[in-house]
Symmetry: C2
Subunit: 397 residues, 2 copies
């Protein structure tokens, strides 16, 4: 039994706002500021270079990675952290392609986050071996899996609509066709139960600043299945992926395990904040989190649809086919979202017309949802978005 009132108390949430944007940037966990201050003032300031050993900076990436592994159903020594999600997707894709040298197609879907597609195209162009990036509609991706496919590269939860792919079924289908699968968990890790090992995933990558609340620019993670580990060459061969980084050998020898996916010096300050942020998961059952997240999103949809006929649900109506976020389409969505933010309901906007809201039980309850729906109804019914100050466009990540 997860106590969500207790998890809420683990965050420092500003008063007078309802934060439905945990899918972009998770809020500040209570211990993060203090931890970071200690890392800066005591470890960096006083231990200086000695902190790599004496404050455990060398072990920090492994420690953080093992904690993330536990949240995504990964074998503990098969996840590492560092770099950004795009870099980790690049590494996973290059390793996966080298494991299917006779095939030439990377299959993804049109709902994938564009950066994954850019990364794939950049790698394909660099390889110059005639690979093709093939895109299919998400709802028909299964029918495009065939024996041409080298790698299926999918984001499990669509960054706009929240549409959830069936990881186990698609992985099995890909394997039956002899393809490998890379799962981008950007909107999955910390949002819902993920079972990489159980699904037989080959590779996965994700970010930690969304549902894992690691802070702005927190590092990414990458997973390699045990059966691929010793064959997975990372392409980005950096010194901390070497079997013996401090031997300073002129020839690269990959570390025997997941450390080979490491590249350069780890971002210690970001990792310290992330490590503190992972404390909030203590005692949280992911299945209970999922149940509660669905309750909150179902309540939200019902309340919004009852009052706001001008908003069109852009997410799957079946909660089992959604991640932890819900999108509503509205032509003036950008202005409407700014009006909501000004009134303390923080969601975000994705072009061309999508208003996104995330349901994160660690720090949200039914009372928040009811209040948010009330404010949304006020903004929409009274056209409060139709004011001059909302005609300027800001970008939000």
């Amino acid at each position: 039994m997860t106590d969500f009132a207790a998890t809420r108390a683990r965050f420092l949430l500003p008063g007078n706002l309802i934060y439905l944007d945990g899918n972009s940037l998770g809020p500040l966990p209570r211990g993060a500021a203090e931890r970071l201050d200690g890392t800066v003032c005591h470890e960096w300031g006083e231990l200086l270079i000695r902190a790599w050993n004496r404050a455990g900076w060398m072990e920090l990436p492994g420690r953080v990675a093992a904690r993330i592994a536990g949240l995504i159903g990964a074998e503990p020594d098969h996840v590492t952290v560092g770099d950004t999600l795009s870099v980790k997707v690049f590494q996973a894709l290059s390793a996966a392609l080298s494991l299917r040298p006779e095939r030439r197609v990377v299959l993804s879907d049109t709902g994938n986050f564009p950066s994954d597609l850019y990364v794939a195209q950049g790698l394909i162009d660099a390889l110059g071996q005639g690979h093709e990036l093939r895109l299919a509609p998400p709802e028909r991706i299964e029918t495009h899996i065939n024996e041409d496919i080298a790698v299926l590269l999918l984001t499990q939860v669509d960054y706009r609509t929240g549409r959830l792919h069936d990881m186990a079924a698609l992985t099995a289908r890909a394997h039956a066709a002899g393809a490998l699968v890379i799962w981008d968990l950007a909107h999955s890790a910390g949002a819902l139960p993920v079972d990489l090992a159980g699904a037989g995933a080959d590779f996965a990558a994700g970010c930690t600043y969304k549902y894992l609340n690691g802070g702005p620019g927190a590092p990414a993670f990458v997973y390699v299945a045990p059966r691929h580990m010793r064959h997975a060459r990372p392409v980005l061969q950096g010194w901390l992926g070497h079997a013996e980084p401090f031997a300073f050998e002129p020839e690269y020898r990959p570390a025997p395990g997941i450390d080979r996916l490491r590249v350069g010096t780890p971002p210690v300050l970001q990792l310290a904040a992330l490590d503190a942020a992972l404390d909030v998961w203590e005692g949280v059952d992911m299945q209970a989190l999922r149940t509660r997240s669905i309750e909150l999103s179902e309540l939200f949809i019902a309340l919004v649809e009852a009052r706001c006929p001008m908003l069109t649900l852009a997410s799957p109506r079946d909660p089992a086919r959604r991640g932890a976020q819900v999108g509503f389409a509205f032509e003036e969505g950008h202005a409407a979202m700014q009006a909501l933010i000004d009134r303390g309901v923080i969601g975000d906007f994705r072009a061309p017309d999508l208003m996104r809201f995330a349901f994160t039980p660690l720090y949200l309850d039914e009372d928040d949802i009811r209040k948010a729906a009330e404010i949304i109804a006020d903004v929409m019914i009274n056209r409060l978005w139709d004011a001059p100050e909302y005609r300027v466009r800001e970008t939000v990540t």
Copy 2:
């Protein structure tokens, strides 16, 4: 006239130690902790996602990059920050190779930091076009520059010996042979005057946690010369390198300028610390810094050599041919460095036998050097390193 007593006051240095390891991790600048606390508690904690616009997080990478550009003689809009140095070398090298499609040799030297060599080899293997990574001794690199060479990839200051390459001369020599040059400035930026534009460098990359004091794991930077900008494809194509990241287009279109070398979401916490750290350069003349650094290192060498015949200078004796660091070879160097650290003289050790010391006038003066030399003499003459506690090896980065 640079006031080095004033710059010293801009750092929070622990008492009772002399920090000669700024070539590994610069010390804590006075404003960094406060800045980071504000970024965490106010910006992340209270503004949440809105901080990307309202706290200037979107502009932070560009702002920091422009400040670094001013310290390395780069055109202001031709540097960007992010990722790690290895990733930035990867991008620079892949862009450079694509500009010399008819050539097949990457030339580097045996004194280069191994990660640069690993990165080059990984890229070459991935390209599969028969490129060769050729290594020559640093002192004879010039004689190996010929019309086979696509790219000359050099670290200006040798990470072990401190040997300084002549950037202008080698760049001119490479250009005369039709080759491009990438300068790794890991041990140059903030250590001595660098004039990328004046030398006609093609690409450069560097890190910010050493002489720029950006904190552990601070992001890297990369430079592209104006003449190459519109041809430089980054291979690592991420969403923040797109011409319009927030249009979420399925096709990658590189940003027109240096932003195309950006990849993923920037490490905001590290960038905030780095931005604060760059304040210490206010009013610092790089030529004055260089003069003072040489005075300190010359004094150090004279004092150490006078007292410690068992230490062998491993750096060029001519200060004009050294960066800001000095290495002494000693068979028991690892134990000796630990003994020094225990007595408050912080340098570091590089296998197999090198004791490294860096001379950073921003926070070191002659008094520090005299005290350090005294302690070194005590440790060496009295064999204080020959104690059981110094037989355990720690790794330091």
